[in-house]
Symmetry: C3
Subunit: 266 residues, 3 copies
């Protein structure tokens, strides 16, 4: 049984409330990694209240909600951490992602994808943490997608539409950006098979919302839902990001998400 | 006499100008912590100009301005650092906050509050620094607010109005976010007595402006002023944030702040 | 021959493609610093694909594009890293900047400039890295601009226009911000001769785009082009930032950039 599932199972046996703080703590110390225990000890030394919220609301509630699997929550959270260049908890959430069933090859692709969507140096920070985690777990390059792979088939119609629109808008303003967007992003990166298009979209949408990039959320949320993300899942992505990227980023994205949901319902 | 007050007092004895750089330096070395000296030495090795601005404009001028107390400036600055996930100077500004009269219990609540408003991992980064500062000063959990406390009374009318508006807008789009916003934020977190509502608002507004979250500034600035923040203080929050969160974030917030001031004047 | 020019020259001798990954790697190990090799080794352990993109697209292509010199690309990239508070690769890009012909005095002024435009603590993080790089290269304070220098002449007309507009808009809302903007920014910082006005504008525009500050891009891009930045260069700044600050930040800035280009063409 994976560490997190063990944690979730163990937590499910006890009522989640602050009155059982001691037992709760004991359970977490047994069930979860030493790193989690050390994290909770750190929080306790600064804010018993935040320790309570972390146990009861974050791990005891948010991560157990239905409509989005622990695996998907790990993908959303990793994307948020990389997009926001957060290193302190990266090792913990990389391990949690692997425990929750995200494959090493998928983590490899997530980091690569976000080099383009969150900036090269954000990916580099993630590389440092991931390298250590991979080494500790004996994950070698043989488990990672090769640089050159057979690409997924391109949807020529939809790509032509996208490329034409961007070319018309910005072709003379930023020819370099437009060229790379077509050649490297949509005719290469997005077609790499190591991460399903639905998951690639999930990563993109999560990173955009987590870093306050509202302007691109509409396009990419539609793409995500075209790629199979359900409305219930998209809604739970927002709940997950409220905690891991802060309430304001989610509230800034809500009007755009609402508009996408409403237009697709018609 | 607290270290910073000593610094401010010492600085007040000498004319603040670049012509007295040597004396100024001497005073700062006597009056302030070793960490400040080491910070200024670092800056000197890279930019004597920035060293000058730091002494003359930041510590010699900005932090001594009237209309916002050193304590409040410390709260604003801590909120900005946590919201922007800045760790390099966190230890320095945590110590400065304690010297300026921010209580350990208030720092504990500020970090907890910003877990929700700036994202969980930003709070975790602050926890690491705060734990070390608290340990060095012998601040134990007995000086920190408990996880469970008697909450401040709720303003049922204003909360009902807020909840109804959010429910109508986003209740079906993001039921999870809406539920947590009511249950955890406005009926729990905001009512914790360890941080006065006016200070909780000051933290929120500072974090929003410091991280470019313009969309929520209007609501929270009004709330802050309802909670007792004066217009002069709000204006000085902007001056403080210009230095500690950069000019562009402040100029992006200015139109919203202006609108709030004008509407409240009617 | 400078390290990077050596790298670029060496790379130009071999076809840039993934099929020559081994030779490519060998060349980079010979030509570039140990740090680059170690960076590529780290990436390889996590994502051979990202390693490929870094060699073929980033260093093998982007940095060699015409219309923007390697020196200017280094300035753009440093500004982006400082604005985004990225420390992991700061040492590498500081060394690359010096190799590409950015003077120590210019790096000193860039960091000072961004204390105001990206927040004081972002500059402090850069100071820590720059101090180590300067020491290792034997760059002492004698090579850095003094705190007090003879300022460039002020364009009184254009400054009067700017100051009047800001004063009318925000003079009563934020008198402190308005005062510092005039006294410290436009009548002091911007007139320091250690960084040419065109380069100071390049730094400012790059930092704004890299941190998603769209609202100020229009004013500062116009100022940059008034100061001598050509449209082709501005366009390549966007290409450079797509990689180093992420695609979304560039796409958010594109409509503003387009508008500036179109208005100036009339």
């Amino acid at each position: 049984m994976k560490a997190t599932m063990k944690l979730l199972f163990a937590l499910s046996l006890i009522p989640v409330s602050a009155s059982c703080q001691t037992e709760n703590n004991t359970v977490m110390q047994q069930a979860n990694t030493n790193q989690n225990t050390s994290m909770l000890d750190d929080i306790h030394a600064v804010s018993p209240a935040l320790e309570g919220y972390t146990k009861d609301r974050l791990f005891g509630d948010l991560w157990r909600r239905p409509d989005l699997s622990p695996r998907d929550r790990s993908i959303v959270t990793l994307a948020a951490l990389i997009a926001r260049n957060q290193t302190v908890q990266m090792t913990y959430y990389l391990n949690l992602a692997l425990d929750n069933g995200v494959k090493p090859s998928e983590i490899s692709e997530i980091i690569t994808h976000l080099a383009f969507y969150s900036g090269w140096e954000n990916a580099m920070s993630a590389v440092v943490s991931a390298k250590a985690v991979f080494r500790k777990r004996g994950i070698g390059p043989d488990q990672l997608p090769a640089a050159q792979v057979d690409l997924l088939p391109l949807n020529e119609d939809s790509e032509k539409q996208r490329a034409t629109s961007v070319e018309q808008n910005f072709g003379t303003v930023a020819p370099g950006v437009v060229q790379y967007t077509t050649d490297v992003l949509f005719r290469d990166l997005w077609l790499r098979p190591g991460l399903a298009p639905r998951d690639r979209s999930l990563v993109t949408v999560s990173a955009l919302i987590a870093s306050g990039q509202v302007a691109q959320v509409g396009y990419h949320l539609n793409r995500a839902m075209d790629n199979g993300l359900t409305q219930k899942q998209a809604s739970e992505v927002l709940t997950q990001l409220a905690f891991h990227a802060g309430w304001p980023n989610v509230f800034s994205a809500l009007p755009v998400v609402k508009e996408v949901f409403e237009k697709r319902a018609k």
